[in-house]
């Protein structure tokens, strides 16, 4: 009997994950409260970032500390292309003329941000993907620091460390939902493509994969470019969700949050990436709420600032201690079909 294609067997995963995201969006829409709306937008943006990170880290097994640099590139593309020309002239006088006059809609900026980030991912990746293991991880960290250092100092083009304001704010959550779903499907499509499968083979058995003709640096580079593109688009949308960008928005803090979400969810699993975001976002929200203060009887009980990050770090360390593969391990959410075949290996792609 012919086995169904890989796509047919695994397509339930992105569909289920998208359904989960849609459910979140519907709840937010039904609640109709503004802060809640913003929270759900944040969650969708984190989904884009973490799924982007997963596309590289999950498939290649190389930890990257540098992906937020691509979000930074994308975020500034949004600033360059969507702020009104007059305001750009004041805050970023060094832009070339054609860019100065340009004013495109936000989805155009997201595409441009993704393309710009993917281009730089190609350049950086061509160099970085020759490294492996810890050296590669630290080199990605150097890349993050390099991008941050350039964007924090290039006064005329990025307004240095001061925030660039005037990016049109998009407040409805549907575009973010759509982008998150697209990111999930893109990550899935890559993971089951021949390049994705080759890369996963290289992750699990580098020697055997190389002997079977997998060009490991090239397979990693493809994943790096795709994930860089997703991060860039996410960065542009992030800029549109809050209306301003600074280099430090896209630095260690966001790197830590996205990485911890991926680790908690499970690095080798797309479902893990999405669930990690949903679980940790809920935790962060609860802690923020406690930091803001809760009325208990007549006294207000508030946690001091910083507890949120400390708790996040502690959760991450505990998960790593007791469940190093994350909540989902290497498995994916899928339909009930899989459970009827206990003899199958744990993950089928």
């Amino acid at each position: 009997m012919a086995r169904p294609s890989v796509a047919r067997r695994t397509v339930m995963t992105p569909i289920l994950l998208s359904a989960l995201l849609v459910a979140f969006a519907l709840v937010a829409w039904a609640a109709g409260s503004k802060p809640f709306n913003q929270t759900v937008i944040d969650i969708f943006l984190q989904v884009i970032f973490v799924v982007g990170l997963y596309t590289f880290v999950g498939n290649s097994g190389v930890i990257s500390f540098g992906h937020i640099a691509f979000a930074c590139l994308g975020g500034y593309v949004a600033a360059w292309t969507t702020i009104k020309p007059m305001m750009k002239g004041i805050s970023m006088p060094g832009l070339p003329d054609w860019l100065m006059q340009l004013e495109i809609p936000f989805w155009g900026a997201a595409l441009a941000g993704g393309a710009f980030a993917a281009f730089w991912a190609l350049l950086f990746g061509a160099v970085l993907m020759r490294l492996s293991g810890i050296a590669a991880s630290i080199a990605t960290f150097a890349m993050l620091a390099m991008v941050n250092s350039i964007y924090s100092n290039w006064e005329s083009v990025t307004a240095a460390t001061s925030s660039v304001v005037g990016i049109p704010i998009v407040r409805t959550l549907w575009p973010y939902l759509a982008a998150a779903i697209i990111a999930v499907f893109a990550a899935w499509a890559f993971a089951i493509s021949r390049h994705g499968l080759a890369l996963r083979a290289a992750r699990d058995e580098p020697t055997a994969a190389a002997a079977s003709g997998v060009n490991i640096p090239r397979a990693r580079l493809i994943a790096f470019v795709i994930s860089g593109g997703i991060m860039g688009a996410g960065g542009a949308l992030y800029a549109h969700s809050i209306g301003l960008v600074t280099p430090d928005t896209f630095y260690l803090g966001l790197t830590f949050t996205t990485l911890s979400m991926l680790v908690v969810g499970g690095m080798g699993s797309l479902s893990g990436a999405v669930l990690g975001v949903l679980i940790l976002s809920s935790l962060i929200q609860a802690l923020r709420w406690l930091e803001a203060g809760v009325q208990v009887g007549t006294t207000t009980f508030a946690l001091p600032g910083g507890v949120q990050e400390i708790a996040l770090g502690a959760v991450m360390i505990l998960i790593l201690m007791f469940r190093p593969a994350g909540i989902m391990g290497n498995s994916e959410l899928s339909g009930p079909r899989r459970k009827t075949k206990p003899g199958q290996p744990g993950h089928d792609n």
Partner: protein
């Protein structure tokens, strides 16, 4: 002549800072293959230990007012203590985990330490005057340089010689080198794993404290992010030097200091702000041609 000497001293003192940081990271990497991202936050913690127990903006109430011969051991002990504590509480449970997992765990631990400081002291930088006598200039070979730079360089050289002697001559040093070479084999031959690893963490923490003292007296401020930059350069130095090679880490640290200082001088004024970006770029270039580092340690190469 004077200005050239000035550059040389700048390069040496910046390089010393990076070398001490790199040494702290390489020591731990050598014995347990842990890339310790929490190192920078241990540095910051040591600086803030001077302010403790006051959390006010400018006050130094207790530790910072100690005379120098008490102050320095105090800070070194704080660093070593925190480092050993992190080993006992966190890293001990990761002994059999793969390096990537440990690396992320240390990243998380670094964040916990940093936000613990933030919770106590807030994110605003605080001014501290630590050993103010050291900022007086002295004349060396026709160049007027702060006394602190001379002391930094001297201390680093002293630490390096001391550490080399320690690793070469003492039983503990021998055990540590054996553990770095082949941990399993060393254990089989009777080296106590916990003792060696805790020793490595204590040394690394003390080195972090030394960096903290130098940074604190150089900048005169305490900032919860102050360890991050040194740590990043120190990481890069350990990678360029060949992961786990102590000599490589030190040489690469000085090399980075030299490159950064020279770039500061030769770059056109417009580009000076991007000095660090150029340094990171240079690092990536080095890694293309020597991905295993300049001096690669034995046993760190991925075996098939």
């Amino acid at each position: 002549m004077g200005s050239i000497m000035q550059v040389v001293f700048d390069a040496l003192s910046l390089g010393s800072l990076y070398a001490l940081g790199a040494l702290g990271i390489a020591l731990i990497f050598g014995v347990m293959r842990l890339v310790n991202f929490a190192h920078g936050d241990v540095i910051a913690f040591c600086v803030f230990a001077l302010l403790w127990p006051s959390v006010d903006a400018v006050a130094i109430t207790f530790a910072g007012n100690l005379p120098w011969f008490l102050l320095i051991p105090f800070v070194l002990c704080v660093g070593a203590g925190l480092s050993v504590l992190s080993e006992v509480v966190v890293f001990r449970r990761f002994r059999h985990a793969n390096p990537a997992t440990m690396m992320i765990a240390s990243f998380a631990l670094g964040f916990v330490i940093r936000y613990f400081l933030l919770m106590l002291y807030s994110s605003r930088p605080k001014s501290i005057s630590l050993l103010p006598a050291l900022s007086q200039p002295v004349e060396v070979f026709g160049a007027r340089i702060p006394l602190l730079q001379v002391i930094t360089i001297a201390v680093t050289i002293g630490v390096l010689i001391g550490l080399t002697q320690f690793l070469r001559r003492t039983r503990f040093g021998l055990e540590m080198r054996a553990a770095a070479e082949n941990f399993t084999m060393a254990r089989v031959l009777g080296v106590r794993a916990n003792r060696v690893i805790m020793g490595a963490f204590a040394l690394s923490g003390a080195l972090a404290a030394a960096v903290a003292l130098i940074l604190g007296s150089q900048t005169g401020t305490a900032n919860i992010m102050m360890g991050a930059n040194v740590m990043l350069m120190a990481f890069i130095a350990t990678v360029i030097g060949g992961m786990g090679s102590l000599a490589g880490a030190v040489i690469a640290g000085f090399l980075l200091g030299a490159v950064a200082t020279v770039m500061q001088v030769i770059l056109p004024p417009d580009a000076r702000a991007f000095r660090d970006a150029f340094v990171y770029g240079a690092v990536i270039l080095v890694l293309i041609f020597r991905p295993q580092g300049l001096l690669s340690a034995r046993g760190t190469k991925e075996r098939v």
